[in-house]
Subunit: 371 residues, 2 copies
Amino acid sequence: MAAFSFAPSHFGAGPRTGILRTAHGEVRTPAFMPVGTQGTIKSLRPEAVRAAGTEMILANTYHLALRPGAATIARAGGVARFIGWPGPVLTDSGGYQAFSLSPSIDDDGVRFRSHLDGAPFRLTPEGAIAIQEDLGSDIAMVLDECPPDPLDRDRAASAVERTIRWARRSIAARARPDQAVFAIVQGGVHEDLRGACAEALREMPFEGLAIGGVSVGEEKEAIHAATSVAAPHLPADRPRYLMGVGEPDDILWAVRCGIDLFDCVIPTRCARNGRLYTFRGRMRIRNARFRKDDQPIEEGCDCMACARVSRAYLAHLHTRGETLGATLATHHNLRFFQRLMEGIRRAIDEDRFDTFARSFAEGFVEERESP
Amino acid sequence: MAAFSFAPSHFGAGPRTGILRTAHGEVRTPAFMPVGTQGTIKSLRPEAVRAAGTEMILANTYHLALRPGAATIARAGGVARFIGWPGPVLTDSGGYQAFSLSPSIDDDGVRFRSHLDGAPFRLTPEGAIAIQEDLGSDIAMVLDECPPDPLDRDRAASAVERTIRWARRSIAARARPDQAVFAIVQGGVHEDLRGACAEALREMPFEGLAIGGVSVGEEKEAIHAATSVAAPHLPADRPRYLMGVGEPDDILWAVRCGIDLFDCVIPTRCARNGRLYTFRGRMRIRNARFRKDDQPIEEGCDCMACARVSRAYLAHLHTRGETLGATLATHHNLRFFQRLMEGIRRAIDEDRFDTFARSFAEGFVEERESP
């Protein structure tokens, strides 16, 4: 496992910075990973993803396994090389998509049908490891059971048990020493279940642990509750990853709980819908009031859009349906999230995280109504 | 007119190189301009357009006048600044689109309805100059009459007369000394009409002359015939621009006739449809045989796609409908056209243009069937 290591700033509770080292480069934590669903951060070249301050991306195993297929990617030398990304990649297990496709679940694994053509698809803990070894990501995720409702205690308890059994099989299935594997803690919002799951998983030789099941459509309160109860049980010497989160306030909440890694489709998906993030709040660029607005999206932002063009031009591109509108908006939103992470890391290192988080919350409104 | 000058390598017949100087930078000729219909070379950032070797782009007056409107662009400081393009821009007059929208034509100008919402639109020679002065392009084009069939002698003759009258009014309407204006020679495939039109226009103080009416859907033979008969009548001390052309073989034909400037949607439109240019011919990247092809599109190409990713990845992006596929393909095709122009300029300077053109024609096939 020499290819992978993690050095956090401290082993206690609360916000921390760190450096995660992989064969494809270093990642400063707390880190935000954009999501490249089909082998691309939609509408952005890898150079632009990097220029936004991104150090690691997430790629979806399920989508890549369907098309172009794990064998094609293995032959190309792995997912990073295939897509031209000059840095580390984390892959999910495919389980998240599987559980959204009404699978039949038994102790062996899950069966479901491809959303593309209905072809039967079977995912087991061993299969998820094997596919991700073909994909050649730097960090692979185990297959876990992800129940739909974090409040349902019985489902959460059985998911914890199965997740632990599957994690053990994942460890046994590992064959690539150059790939790290993270296990996933389930247990909904129930502290005892989260605690029991984490205690069992930390005994196994995983390079990191993740909090799962907090981004399946539930309310903010449930996300925050699950994070708060799970985080203290994650081992301090390994990276802690909160899967599928989130909005800036969710990230700030989780950083306070000691989380090191995040991924979310929010910045990229919102960008394509013309919703732009600034430190004063979100803007809808298609709104008529921006059509004659010569200002950049956000004064002081160093993204490729703010450096060169106005809100009026972006409004023009978005209303005309030009893909360059999505490209520039995606770069801006991604740069916003990475500027947020840079601010968080600096604030932690300078021991003023609480002030930073409070100041952010005071300035940021959900939907900006004024320019 | 100090902002604009042109220095060709010679004033005789045949292929020539040159340098066209504008307030926004120099353009080496023969030059190819990609087309930015709605204020964007579709799917490419200006930096990528520039990195492909592009020195001047074409922007469509008609589309920009409808949305976002000439006033918005004037207030932003001109079209180059509005769209973030760091170089010269040539605008057409809007006439080409007007003549495709079944206009009513009289000696005053053309009336037609917007393709967006049916709103009435009126274009006169004076109006076309005024809008382009608002757009602030480096080179503006006069409004000309562009008849649908270059073989119809009577229509061509009356279009020549009206085009000359409109050109005179365009000169009288000019108010911006920092903007060059090119007139357009009509006359179909008829040498005497092309000659008469060019003789009349060269007496007026236009900074350049263009050959119009050769890209309205006609056959290659008509394009070549019109270029051959018109080019000798264009003044040698001013740039010669063949509007809307074309395929590589058309460009080579026209360069031999002494043409300096070209524009065409072919590289960008084909790219979005997955048709990629190489010096061995065009490829359809969606073809199944590329799905497992680890080679770059073209060995030796220095575009952002060939430098980093394989045909298999591009095939994946195009079949999945990912916009990054259009972005990478557009950059590749544009780079191909600019590499062609670089090859042409070098060959002319080294007095081996005929060898270059013959060698290109022998290597290039319309549709490549083998990798």
